[in-house]
Symmetry: C2
Subunit: 147 residues, 2 copies
């Protein structure tokens, strides 16, 4: 993030830049803390949580492979391999889609739900530590500003 020619950049640019830099550093910091806490607890990485949570939210606890990839902003091939790992641990199942033979569904298993319940408290604790002073009102204002 930068202003190579400071004098030529109007104030709005600087303020936005500052906001983006803050978001970047906050993001890196919190994600780093959460990853460390999960590893410390002998739990899988954050990426696994994201998959389990996406399926938990979905109707029938299932989504098409490409829907999960899009939801997580990762490529289809990346999710294909990630899903293999999760399936090998019994946290999800990969089924053929009943209506379209080309498509597969990633399905959350009971073991996957249990893992979600084990990971969430660790995640939550780090979020609480990261935003100790943020009130509900401030949090809502934040969401409004960012959307």
């Amino acid at each position: 993030m930068n202003v190579i020619e400071c004098a030529t950049i109007p104030e709005m640019q600087h303020a936005r830049l500052d906001a983006w830099r803050t978001i970047l550093s906050l993001h890196a910091g919190v994600v780093g803390q959460v990853e460390a806490a999960l590893a410390e607890a002998g739990l899988p990485p954050l990426g696994w949580y994201d998959v389990l949570w996406a399926l938990y939210e979905a109707p029938q606890r299932r989504l098409r492979m490409s829907e999960v990839a899009d939801a997580l902003t990762i490529s289809r091939s990346t999710f294909s391999r990630l899903a293999d790992r999760l399936a090998r641990e019994g946290l999800i199942r990969i089924d053929r889609a009943p209506d379209d033979g080309r498509s597969r569904h990633a399905v959350l298993t009971a073991g996957g739900t249990r893992m979600l319940r084990r990971m969430w408290p660790v995640y939550e604790r780090e979020l609480d530590a990261a935003f100790p002073q943020l009130s509900a009102v401030d949090a809502k204002r934040l969401v409004e500003l960012l959307r």
Copy 2:
């Protein structure tokens, strides 16, 4: 991000969670757009920009290897290899530290500064597109909320 037992989570938790989710999705979206725009323009990835910018900001345009790694929240070994690539392209130089023989300095070259000037406009354009309506006042409020 999750509330497995919705009813038991107080409102503050939910609002914070919502804020964090918003930050996550904003981050993924903007970073994705910037990476795509850089690749489109035949420029190096965002990680290279971060290195060049960190050095540009530093006194004497130089930092110890581990200082760069810490600043970017990546491991020392990752930066060691990343620095090799940048040095191979002539964007940085790696010097022995004058005072401590164990330490090395990553030093921004003239070519590195030129690359920074080529990458920044592309980056900036994507930031403008990402925050079209965020005023300077809002941006400042945002930074206050997050710190």
